[in-house]
């Protein structure tokens, strides 16, 4: 059992060996250079990993909660459910998600609250989650769109990660966060040395600079109180330039709304769950034609409130990690940081 978190060092020249040792027992996924770090893909060799990426385009949630997931297959002719492989398939090989940014790692800890919690448990998510270790990579050079420190995350946040890497000069500073993380590096133990005082100092200094590069734009605690005003006048204005597309929610690492539908080809069918977005007009449309959120105003409010007001009340966490994806990819430059500022300034 892990008594305390260990600080270890790995020389960069040993990284290749380290990677090979891990890949003997684990399948490794990471931001790969080959697809321009668009999403987390299978990595076969250590030099495929893109270390200096800012953030993958698709967030990590895709890995645990894919855009389309088959809940079960069925036969419409026999009118019976064929069980999924969620119960039957044994996944012997464990996965490592390597090079995850701390914000993405944290987002998984939020999704755990939704899917992994026993209320009831979502087996599809849990199965993947159980067989996966998250190795995160501290951000030494945060992007201009990052605002993690405003929402309680940070460039060196450990939440959600099993191991965290810090890139120092010529070597990696490795911190094990969970017992699982400790087990993960067991096979490569001989490559690792305990960190010296110097190493720790260098790491602390490094993160200090990274932290200072991140401006704190708002305080999520205050924001939650501010948002308790459901009928505040700014809701009438904020949404106006919103196009109602699903980019912000689909790229968001914590947005987890989904839809369940059936698909049939001849007599083969499957029930699938797919991502859905509160920004879509049909999201809450009742079969009767009534829609509790009829315009983009309500839908925009729902997105903001869900992240910054409802989730803190329900799960005790602000469901935003400040990764900045919605800021970068919004076609009309609806910057959530601006929205927050506007809300905070409103009396």
């Amino acid at each position: 059992m892990l008594k305390e978190k260990r600080n270890l060092m790995l020389y960069k020249q040993d990284f290749e060996k380290f990677f090979r040792l891990l890949s003997e027992t684990f399948t490794i996924f990471g931001p790969s250079k080959t697809d321009g770090s668009r999403s987390f893909t299978k990595i076969d060799a250590s030099d495929e990993i893109a270390f200096d990426y800012e953030n993958t385009k698709m967030s990590l949630k895709e890995f645990f909660f894919p855009q389309t997931e088959t809940l079960f297959f069925f036969d419409t002719e026999k009118n019976e459910v064929k069980q999924t492989d969620v119960e039957t398939n044994k996944h012997d090989k464990q996965n490592i998600l390597f090079g995850v940014r701390p914000c993405d790692a944290m987002s998984i800890s939020f999704l755990d609250k939704v899917f992994n919690a026993n209320n009831p448990q979502d087996l599809y998510y849990t199965r993947r989650r159980k067989s996966t270790r998250i190795v995160s990579f501290a951000c030494t050079n945060p992007a201009s769109t990052c605002f993690c420190t405003s929402v309680g995350c940070g460039p060196d946040s450990e939440t959600g990660a099993d191991i965290i890497f810090f890139e120092l000069n010529g070597r990696y500073f490795i911190k094990t966060v969970t017992p699982e993380g400790e087990k993960t590096i067991k096979s490569a133990e001989k490559l690792l040395n305990p960190a010296t005082k110097n190493d720790i100092e260098e790491k602390v200094h490094l993160m200090k600079t990274a932290n200072s590069n991140l401006k704190k734009i708002f305080d999520s605690g205050n924001l939650q109180k501010k948002l308790d005003n459901f009928n505040a006048p700014y809701w009438g204005k904020l949404h106006r330039k919103c196009l109602g597309c699903g980019i912000c929610t689909y790229l968001c690492p914590t947005c987890h709304c989904f839809d369940i539908t059936d698909e049939v080809i001849k007599s083969n069918g499957r029930r699938i769950r797919t991502w859905d977005s509160c920004m879509f007009s049909l999201f809450t449309l009742h079969a009767s034609g009534h829609n509790p959120r009829p315009t983009q105003k309500e839908r925009m409010r729902q997105r903001i409130m869900h992240k910054f007001n409802y989730a803190p009340k329900y799960y005790g966490k602000t469901f935003c990690v400040g990764c900045g994806r919605c800021v970068i990819y919004c076609p009309v430059n609806m910057d959530i940081r601006d929205v927050m500022k506007e809300i905070m300034e409103e009396r």
Partner: protein
Amino acid sequence: MRQIEYEIINTVEKLFADKKIDIFIGYKKGTLSLQTSPYFLSEQDDVRKLVWNSFCSNNLAVFIPRIIPNSKSKESKPVGILCKGCDSRSLVGLIKEKQINRDNLFIIGISCPGIVDRRKILSRLDGKEIIGIDEDADSIVVKLKDGEKRFEKEEYLCESCLNCAHPTPSIYDVLIRGAVYSLQAITPDPITKDFSSKPREERWKIFETEVSKCIRCYACRDACPNCYCKECFAEQTKPQWLGVSKGLSEVIFYHIVRILHQAGRCVDCGACVRACPMDINLRLFTRVMVDEVKERFGYEPGISLKDTPPLATFSADDKQEFMTEPE
């Protein structure tokens, strides 16, 4: 550029002062460099926040059917809008298809020097942080921490601007003349010509790889002014034409039908391409319809309010060389 910006601000200020409009849609400075954001301003808001530069990429016409919901209702005052050439062409389409009333609009037309594609510039910066931007008539100067980089606009324009035949608005109430980026527009567009010369299998392969990136956020549809359907085929449930999964088959289906639906409407403004978060080169597939409509029916969407849209009319002697005849 500055000159034109002043002119826009003065015009809008005067419109508000004369009580001609209640709301004006323009651009304001974006929160990211190389980007602007649509700006809805009313009389109380700060007119001086309006900007005009090479990054005013949004097609503002997309907002018009949303804020003027009914074509028949005559708003007390028209909505003011800043229009580039392509924006005005989109508006013409909307007016012709009775989605909005011309009387409900006050259009400040602006002859457009072309929009710079921020992605093209970003790809040359290797992720370096931008500190500031300067713009003159021909080039963009990007200031970085370790120096400057100069980009000639001509090379970094959006694809759709490179082959724009009508940079000056086709309808307007006030026209602000500025430099027009003039290049002989070519039909068919070089990219479609190049694409059609490829072997069939390769064409399909390219199409497949491009659209397989799609995450079905529908941003291409939502950013398109001419995609105004209240209920899109992609979301209909009775009958359900399209599954909701991310499968290749569904994505291909969606894009083919959307592009066909835009045939005769698409003004090649490039809004869908710029909105796509996955960088799908949609224009490679949308542009061919623009060229085909022009070649076959001699129609260019958005040029005149008078001519009938090509699919809303016919001619007895339309070519029918493609019809099957028995052997």
